[in-house]
């Protein structure tokens, strides 16, 4: 059965034609039980090919939290990049694929003892931190590790800020580097995170400037750093074109070349920009209602089983089955009984019938990995195409 979908000009900015073709072809031939997440493997490969390309001496580590599916991790591993993880669960995914410890780092500044022990045992040797207690923990459970300090940097330009929870200011950072050395660890560098889905090019300028100040301060204290971990934050297209990754990276590379020694090693930790736009959630329209002046559209994917980031301000683009009817403005909601389960408002879409499909674009990252089975609604599964 060939389904009809309303594809419009702005969709072309969000999803590539070949990804859309694969998704629609998949939907034609299957008997469908939604919701599920289709992942275009070619798109993941393309994304990986681009990232890190314009930054000298850089290594890329996929932030597994974005989508920790084993098949995706396997695919990523085959592209010869590493992984950034935070927990025993994530390490288990990687160990099931026999991924070499040299390809794994952990940039979570606060790690559990169980994880530290497991990671040390496995051979993971790059850990971030931002507190005295973390140094003590690492020194005890993962002695002699290479460690890098998390600096706090402004997160204003990002849709998903992270800095409040983590990071220290310059003076504390220097003290913590010295303290790590004193405890027998090997302080190798500095990290920051501009915030996920960062659309402000200058966030990286400010962060890199700050890292440079720390670099020099620590050198004057006798600690010579060699690693700059620039975290993640590369944006993807949700409802409009974000800045291109090559523009961001050329800017970063220029700043680093100007300010840091030539042999500096750069780590990049993309998550969203590797899997985000490779994923399309396929969901079904389960209800419609008119409440006062508002038209409501209910889908079988909501805030709790996949679209959690909508609460934090991520806005998605949709393609609906059936392009014949007139467009309306919809409030889009998930299936659960909770009133938080509202995904977006003022979304213009043609009116679908109940049972029609609705595709949610750029939903490969931070969707399934956030999802719960609240209210008995199933978590979508990844299907690689």
């Amino acid at each position: 059965m060939i389904r009809s979908f309303k594809v419009e000009k702005f969709h072309a900015k969000i999803i590539s034609k070949s990804t859309l073709f694969k998704v629609l072809s998949y939907l034609d031939k299957q008997k469908i039980t939604t919701p599920f997440l289709l992942i275009d493997t070619e798109k993941i490969k393309e994304n990986i090919y681009i990232i890190g390309k314009n930054i000298r001496n850089s290594k890329v580590f996929y932030a597994l939290k974005a989508n920790p599916d084993v098949a995706i991790a396997d695919l990523v591993n085959q592209q010869d990049i590493g992984f950034e993880i935070a927990s025993e669960g994530e390490l288990k995914v990687l160990s099931s694929l026999d991924i070499k410890p040299a390809k794994i780092i952990s940039s979570n500044p606060v790690k559990s003892i169980q994880f530290l022990e497991m990671a040390a045992n496995y051979g993971v040797n790059y850990l971030s931190y931002d507190s005295i207690d973390e140094v003590d923990k690492i020194a005890k459970h993962a002695p002699r590790s290479n460690v890098y300090i998390r600096l706090s940097v402004p997160n204003e330009g990002s849709d998903w800020p992270l800095s409040k929870k983590f990071g220290v200011e310059l003076d504390d950072a220097v003290r913590l580097l010295s303290y790590a050395k004193h405890k027998g660890l090997n302080p190798v560098g500095v990290t920051f995170h501009v915030g996920s889905q960062c659309t402000n090019l200058y966030s990286w300028n400010i962060a890199i400037d700050k890292a440079k100040i720390l670099w020099d301060m620590s050198e004057s204290k006798g600690i010579k750093l060699s690693l700059l971990n620039i975290g993640g934050g590369y944006p993807i297209n949700y409802t409009k074109s974000a800045i291109n990754i090559d523009i961001i990276e050329k800017n970063i590379n220029k700043l680093i070349s100007e300010k840091f020694p030539e042999d500096i090693e750069i780590h990049i930790e993309p998550g969203r920009s590797i899997v985000g736009d490779a994923g399309i959630l396929v969901s079904t329209v389960i209800g419609k209602a008119k409440r006062y002046d508002e038209d409501w559209l209910y889908m079988d994917v909501g805030v709790f089983n996949g679209l959690m980031e909508s609460l934090g301000g991520i806005r998605y683009s949709y393609i609906v089955e059936n392009y014949k009817s007139k467009s309306k403005r919809w409030t889009i909601a998930g299936p659960s009984c909770d009133s938080f389960d509202v995904i977006d408002q003022n979304i213009t879409l043609p009116e679908p019938d109940i049972g029609y499909l609705i595709l949610i674009l750029s939903s490969g990252a931070y969707t399934i990995s956030y999802a719960s089975e609240f209210n008995g609604f199933l978590i979508p599964k990844n299907i690689l195409i």
Binding site: S4, H11, A12, K17
Partner: protein, 278 residues
């Protein structure tokens, strides 16, 4: 002056045409059909907002879609044409004396009717006694076809519309089964400039079914991205070689064009390996 704006979401350049008059506007079971008159291109056939052909330059597309496989085949007798309700490809196939039978499979009968009315120089070919018209889905026809076919030529609408069943592994697999030993399959597969991802994808899917896969291109001013791709699947013969003397009457295609239409091997590899992205 009215203007027509082409609705190809995946064209970063929006094509607009002057419209002297709207000759037909209607909706079939499958698509919106529009025929307009343009001072430069003459009559234009537009399906679902995308230009399919213009009187002035249609021969580039129809000749190039048809004659490469027809000349590469040693003795093409039984041909299947899928889509191309305007009759342009059928007209070109009939130029070959070897041809005994053409199955002309078009899903939308209204396109044939409209073409008969407005594009007689293309559609008059359809009435030839060698042509058997089948109003049905081309994928279904090929799946059920047990007859030995020498060439299958697909002239479809946009790949993400309802024609997408003509670009699946399933369809290509039944196509190779329907073909003779020397059989060849050809389909348009969009623009190298604007749809490289689709070009690569179609080559990849074809390779799942056919031992020999290649592509060639032709410049088409009225298709988005202009550098238009035709993808070939062959059972055993290299489509780059011509196996019969070039004796038909054409305007653009000839035996020299045949050789030059294929990409140089190095460029082909570079594109398929995604080493040339722009």
């Amino acid at each position: 002056m009215i203007r027509f704006f082409e609705k190809e979401p995946y064209s970063p350049i929006e094509y607009t045409y002057e419209v002297q008059s709207v000759l037909y506007k209607g909706k079939s079971q499958y698509q919106e059909i529009l025929v307009v008159e343009n001072p430069y291109f003459g009559k234009i056939l537009i399906l679902d907002g995308i230009v399919q052909l213009t009187e002035r330059d249609e021969f580039f597309y129809h000749e190039m879609l048809t004659h490469i496989v027809m000349q590469a085949h040693p003795n093409p007798k039984r041909i299947v044409v899928i889509g191309g309700g305007d009759g342009g490809v059928v007209r070109e196939v009939l130029k070959h004396k070897t041809v005994e039978k053409i199955y002309f499979v078009e899903i939308d009968e209204e396109v044939i009717q409209i073409s008969k009315r407005f594009f007689p120089t293309l559609s008059s070919s359809i009435d030839d006694p060698k042509v058997e018209i089948k109003i049905m889905d081309g994928a279904d026809f090929i799946k059920k076809s047990s007859t030995s076919i020498d060439a299958i030529i697909v002239d479809s609408t946009d790949i993400i519309g309802f024609a997408r069943s003509l670009f699946t592994e399933d369809f290509f697999s039944s196509a190779i089964k329907a073909l003779n030993q020397d059989g060849m399959f050809v389909t348009h597969s969009e623009s190298l400039h604007f749809h490289l991802d689709i070009v690569i994808e179609v080559q990849k899917i074809l390779k799942k079914a056919f031992p020999l896969v290649d592509l060639y291109t032709a410049p088409i001013a009225t298709y988005p991205g202009n550098w238009w791709v035709f993808s070939i699947g062959s059972k055993k013969l290299n489509p780059r070689d011509i196996r019969r003397p070039f004796e038909i009457k054409t305007r653009y295609y000839d035996d020299e064009i045949h050789k030059h239409a294929f990409l140089p091997h190095k460029l082909y590899r570079k594109l398929m390996d995604k080493k040339l992205i722009w």
